[in-house]
């Protein structure tokens, strides 16, 4: 496994947001994470990305136990999280966003200077590799469409050498053609050997690109299914708790 969480507990005051959650992702796997609002998906990804420290449980990245005290440490470990609204700074350019934290420098008379030329060149390469088209790499990100922003955010993750890429609702509020594009990005990442955690409400998207599906309910990870061996009906039943009702009835 590239990434494994065992027995993760996270409490906020009296509320237990995560209750002994186990979660794992294999190499070159797209693991979907589904669940109703308030099921604990956001808290779980914040724990993976170093934004929250768990109260109990262990996290392993590539077989080594890790403990993230900040998002920076998670990035350094190769975990890139693409938040729905907070992935990129709107009032900064594409190049600035992609190279944040990984600036290319060039010494002039022994003094390090940012090498903007090299960064712009590399940005062009990254974007064409993903087949992302933006009006200009020097334009502010906020002027771009949701699909273009997802592309830029993924380019950033690739530039950071991320091995595990967590995507929070990447297709929400996108036009149909753009959803297609973002799902293509995800298959491309898998083809490059990257592991992806896909958080989504859209069961159709989940079935289209994922290899396995983890279902969260009431702060617990209640089921993991192989996508090929399950059905949307079963997954929806697990999300809504319909299976519990049936089990109680029989």
């Amino acid at each position: 496994m590239v990434f494994r969480m065992s027995g993760i507990v996270k409490r906020f005051g009296g509320l237990t947001a995560l209750d002994r959650v186990d979660f794992e992702v294999a190499p070159a796997e797209v693991m979907a994470l589904v669940g109703d609002n308030g099921a604990g998906k956001s808290t779980l990804i914040k724990t993976m990305s170093g934004a929250h420290a768990p109260d109990e449980g262990t996290i392993e990245m590539e077989g080594q136990e890790v403990r993230f005290r900040s998002p920076q440490e998670a990035w350094d470990r190769g975990i890139a999280t693409i938040y729905q609204e907070l992935a990129l700074a709107g009032k900064m350019t594409v190049v600035d966003n992609i190279f944040l934290g990984r600036e290319i420098r060039k010494p002039i008379l022994g003094i390090p200077f940012l090498n903007r030329q090299a960064m712009r060149k590399r940005t062009g390469e990254l974007l064409s590799q993903l087949d992302v088209h933006v009006p200009s790499i020097d334009a502010w990100v906020e002027s771009m469409s949701g699909g273009q922003r997802q592309g830029v955010a993924i380019a950033r993750a690739l530039n950071m050498d991320a091995r595990l890429i967590i995507m929070d609702e990447p297709t929400a509020a996108l036009a149909v053609a753009e959803v297609r594009k973002v799902l293509d990005f995800i298959t491309k990442l898998r083809a490059q050997g990257k592991s992806v955690v896909l958080i989504s409400h859209n069961i159709q998207d989940v079935f289209e690109v994922s290899d396995r599906i983890s279902v969260m309910r009431h702060g617990r990870c209640i089921a993991v299914r192989e996508t090929k061996k399950t059905t949307p009906q079963e997954i929806i039943g697990l999300i809504t708790g319909a299976h519990e009702v049936r089990a109680a009835a029989s």
């Binding site: 990305s49 934004a51 900040s70 998002p71 920076q72 998670a74 990035w75 350094d76 999280t81 938040y83 907070l86 992935a87 990129l88 700074a89 709107g90 009032k91 900064m92 600035d96 190279f99 944040l100 934290g101 600036e103 420098r105 003094i111 390090p112 200077f113 940012l114 200009s136 334009a139 502010w140 906020e142 002027s143 950033r156």
Partner: protein, 320 residues
């Protein structure tokens, strides 16, 4: 050169052109008093302090924080320099590091309160600045302290290069340093992300707390440098010296953000803005206007600068 790149150049150097126009107008009206090298060299030298205060403000402003205490840091460090030299008799080369450390300490206090208690920096630095002014008045007994070691004056205002006091060159060196850090270093990028997308920066691995703290310490040290130079410029320490510098520095910082690199607080824009403002005031006083023009000019410039920068950024959003 096509029309839009011409437009960009006009925007970048607009303030420089306005400055030259102001010089031409006053020069035409008072060629014998205004348009003299001695008038300009004295402006360049004596206003170096304001340039440095403005540069100091630009650093936390880029990270989205205000340092209203910088003028009182200047006064405090100026008074510290004056007292240690005139009353205690410590040699000036030993005083300078002490004053710089004091400025850095003010920055640490500002940063620690702002970050730890999550209070807006505007409020924290307003309080810290006023508190510092109280300390300054207390330790000086509200008196101007004169009799500062002569060497300090020599190395600030007496020695000249091309007829301009050396203090001007210190300000230009610091402007070059701030320009380098803001435009050409990873730290500069982090400052900008901290100011423009703090939460994005944090989640993307920028240690925003450390960046903001560093910005406060930098502005504290800049305040201290300005304080030392202020003492050197007059040869004495006045317990109210910095009070009148805060508003001009803010006006210059915001005005500076409309030129050279429009839409960003920047070092060279700040330098141009300071000298534009003081040229205007100098010209008006040569024409015989009284001191009230200071307030009219600086206050008006601040408001106009904020309006222009809002227009600039609004148009950027539409066209890019």
């Amino acid at each position: 050169m096509n029309l839009s790149s011409l437009g960009n150049h006009v925007e970048r150097f607009g303030l420089v052109l306005v400055w030259l126009a102001v010089i031409a107008i006053f020069g035409a009206m008072r060629p014998d008093t205004f348009l003299t090298w001695s008038n300009f060299s004295s402006i360049f030298g004596s206003e170096a302090v304001l340039v440095i205060v403005t540069l100091g403000l630009v650093i936390p402003l880029t990270a989205g924080d205000f340092d209203l205490s910088i003028a009182q840091t200047l006064t405090f460090c100026s008074m510290l320099t004056g007292l240690l030299s005139a009353r205690v008799g410590i040699p000036i080369e030993a005083i300078i590091p002490i004053a710089l450390l004091a400025g850095a300490a003010v920055g640490v206090v500002n940063g620690a309160i702002t970050l730890y208690f999550r209070v807006h920096s505007l409020i924290v630095t307003l309080g810290v600045g006023t508190f510092l002014h109280g300390i300054t008045l207390w330790m000086s007994d509200s008196q101007t302290i004169s009799g500062v070691e002569r060497a300090l004056m020599n190395y600030v205002i007496i020695y000249r290069i091309f007829g301009i006091p050396v203090s001007f060159y210190y300000a230009i060196l610091l402007a070059a340093l701030v320009w380098y850090v803001l435009s050409y270093t990873a730290f500069g990028q982090q400052l900008l992300f901290t100011g423009r997308g703090r939460e994005v920066g944090r989640l993307s691995g920028v240690a925003v707390g450390r960046v903001r703290m560093a910005a406060f310490v930098a502005s504290g040290v800049m305040g201290a440098i300005a304080g030392i130079l202020y003492t050197g410029t007059t040869g004495s320490a006045n317990p109210n010296s910095g009070t009148t510098l805060l508003l001009p520095a803010f006006a210059a910082a915001f005005l500076g953000a409309t030129c050279i690199k429009p839409g960003r607080f920047n070092a060279w824009g700040s330098v141009v803005a300071v000298y534009f403002l003081v040229t205007g005031i100098n010209g008006l006083s040569v024409l015989g206007f009284r001191t009230y023009v200071h307030d009219l000019f600086y206050g008006g410039a601040l408001v106009v600068a904020v309006m222009v920068s809002q227009l600039v950024s609004g148009r950027k959003e539409r066209t890019l």
